[in-house]
């Protein structure tokens, strides 16, 4: 009861409600614009959050996450281009249905299933995150090391692209985290006499570079792309018939999405693809999939939105990001001095339940905004890239500079923009770099502290049951892509 009251606290704070409203609105705009999305948008907004208190900052980021994930569906349905990667599966049936003159029905179903999936995942978050946090009390340094390794190996199994390339990208991310003074001995590493590098490479220049600047360079190669737009009259709520047809799909996909979200990897994209294929497998009319099936839209949208709450579970309970956007949210928490983990649940329950409550409200807000404003949001895609991206560049540069008022951060951002462009071009996902960067300190710190505890005996890791379980899970995660390939 007390927790429920804590969850409702944002409703009674005009400041938080305002932050939620702007976050949801901004998230929807970002979700609608192809190439942007909640991850890049979250990275762009991070420097601005410094002016807010920690709770408002995280509420802003999480509302962008929830609304941005849904916003991708609007573009997917109307112009056959997913606004976010997680909306890719929505294109498969959303656009064909819109072409049949039922864009309003498709968007209505996408909105309803997104909201149901989102709320379902918040419920999972509320019940599962404290449970996981309690479990984490059993963890010592060796267990955290094994958990971080598990988180990184998961990238190989279910992340985008080649598993080995993802591992290289993850290792690169950890390597970046080693730049600067070694935290145990204060010895400089990879600083090459540059004093500013002694404090290490900041999260924000890397995140903004890898997401926003590399996307800008990618957009510079796609200038001739022409979108075919389907006209939208108004968003229509699903009919009773539609509900009868899809309620099982929505619930199933919500469960799948929440589960996939909890696993440390690219939650929403993988969740929507699995949600979509499961909807097809269980459907009485699988032949309609790909031609405008309402079940296909419901399956994909419920799954990708339910991954949002799921991905917040390991982020808040263990400090291990469940997706690319939660990696940005985790960065936001860290720069505000909040260290996620079991202690956070014990010491600051009002902070956590404030986040849960705001995620719930954000889902309701994007339902209202999406339902009445989809037509307006769809028009945002008309802003040409040749105007949009120079503006994003100006915001990125000033935002990155603002953190420590250092031009070096701006050069680092540009460098990572170029690195990110070539990584994407050659099939390396940039998400593992961010996750590696965030987990780097945890991986090295816990490894070295464990070795101190074990007196340098590596085999002692295998005598800790929880750590051993995570190592076994890591091996399974590494072997999974090979097994999947063999099965194919």
């Amino acid at each position: 009861m007390e927790n429920l009251l804590l969850m409702m606290a944002p409703l009674f704070s005009s400041k938080l409600l305002l932050v939620l409203f702007f976050g949801t609105l901004f998230g929807l705009i970002l979700g609608v614009l192809p190439g942007l999305g909640p991850t890049t948008g979250g990275a762009l907004i991070l420097p601005f959050t410094m002016t807010l208190d920690p709770l408002s900052a995280v509420v802003l980021l999480t509302s962008i996450y929830c609304a941005g994930t849904y916003g991708g569906a609007i573009t997917a349905i109307l112009i056959n281009t997913p606004g976010t990667p997680a909306a890719a599966a929505t294109c498969l049936d959303g656009y064909p249905l819109a072409q049949k003159g039922e864009a309003g029905r498709a968007l209505g179903m996408a909105t309803v299933s997104s909201v149901v999936g989102g709320i379902f995942s918040v419920i999972v978050l509320v019940f599962f995150a404290p449970f996981l946090a309690k479990l984490a009390y059993e963890f010592g340094q060796p267990e955290y090391f094994a958990l971080a390794i598990f988180g990184l190996t998961m990238l190989a199994s279910i992340g985008d692209g080649s598993p080995i390339k993802n591992l290289i990208a993850g290792a690169f991310g950890i390597l970046i985290s080693t730049v600067g003074k070694d935290f145990m001995t204060s010895i400089d590493r990879f600083t090459y006499g540059i004093n500013e590098l002694s404090v290490g490479i900041g999260f924000i220049p890397v995140v903004v570079g890898l997401f926003a600047i590399s996307e800008m360079l990618t957009q510079s190669t796609l200038l001739n792309q022409v979108f075919k737009r389907v006209a939208l009259k108004a968003v229509r709520l699903p009919t009773l018939e539609d509900y009868k047809l899809t309620w099982k799909t929505i619930l199933r996909s919500s469960g799948i999405g929440s589960f996939i979200g909890v696993l440390p990897a690219e939650g929403g994209t993988v969740a929507s693809l699995i949600g979509y294929s499961e909807a097809k497998r269980w459907s009485k009319k699988p032949e309609e999939f790909g031609k405008g099936s309402i079940e296909g839209i419901a399956g994909a949208e419920a799954a990708n939105n339910s991954a949002t709450g799921g991905a917040m579970v390991p982020t808040l309970a263990l400090g291990i990001p469940g997706s690319a956007t939660t990696a940005v949210i985790l960065t936001g928490l860290i720069i505000h001095g909040v260290r996620p983990g079991p202690d956070l649940f014990r010491e600051q329950p009002e902070f956590l339940y404030g986040i849960f409550g705001s995620m719930l409200i954000a889902n309701i807000m994007f339902f209202v905004l999406g339902f009445f404003g989809a037509k307006i949001f769809a028009r945002i895609t008309l802003v040409p890239n040749k105007l949009l991206w120079p503006m994003i560049f100006a915001v990125s540069v000033c935002g990155t500079y603002s953190l420590s008022q250092s031009l070096l951060d701006v050069w680092i951002m540009l460098l990572f923009g170029v690195i990110g462009f070539f990584m994407r071009r050659f099939g390396f996902s940039v998400v593992p770099v961010i996750i590696g960067l965030i987990l780097g300190e945890l991986v090295e710190g816990t490894l070295r502290q464990s070795l101190v505890i074990f007196d340098g005996n590596w085999l002692m890791f295998l005598k800790r049951p929880i750590a051993l379980s995570f190592f076994i899970l890591s091996l399974i995660a590494l072997a999974f892509p090979l097994l999947r390939k063999k099965n194919k």
Partner: protein, 169 residues
């Protein structure tokens, strides 16, 4: 489609050192090797102060891992070549050149001027020719961003020919 096929065929006949697989692997291994060599110059902690492993050990292990995995992807690419990428268009290089101009101008003349110039160059190279929109993107919007960061976030921009005039008033 035909162009991609033609490029694919042409790519097959290329010597190995012109193929993406080799070039990418070579660059990763080359940079990693340089970084690996540099780790040998990290200071060493005396045994009495050393807790656990030396500060250089962890980065060394990561670099060896990166090199080994890169060798593995190169080996696998011999059996299954990577997807052929479309040629990078001129606009990409012009955007990259604009970045370089941005760095030079912000370092030598003015940070605000550099943002303004980059916005103009990118917008122009990407096809914008309408004067109003070019002014909007390169002058009006950067001024809004500048004032926003300066007044609301209390940011002090680095000194430069335009920024100094602003701060004088």
């Amino acid at each position: 489609m035909n162009n991609v096929r033609k490029q694919k065929r042409a790519n097959k006949n290329l010597p190995f050192f012109f193929k993406d697989e080799f070039r990418v692997s070579f660059i990763i291994i080359f940079i990693s090797s340089i970084l690996l060599i540099s780790t040998f110059s990290f200071d060493i902690v005396p045994p009495i102060l050393n807790r656990g492993i030396q500060p250089a050990t962890f980065p060394k292990a990561l670099l060896v891992l990166i090199i080994s995995l890169t060798l593995l992807i190169y080996y696998l690419s011999i059996k299954k070549p990577w997807e052929v990428q479309k040629k990078i268009p001129k606009t990409f290089f012009l955007t990259l050149l604009s970045f370089l101009i941005f760095v030079i101008v912000s370092k030598t003349l003015d940070f605000f001027l550099a943002i303004s110039l980059l916005s103009f160059l990118v917008s122009y190279h990407w096809g914008e020719r309408r004067i109003f929109y070019l002014v909007l993107v390169s002058i009006i919007f950067p001024i809004i961003v500048f004032i926003f960061f300066e007044t609301i976030l209390g940011l002090r921009f680095p000194p430069g020919i335009i920024t100094n005039i602003y701060y004088k008033f």
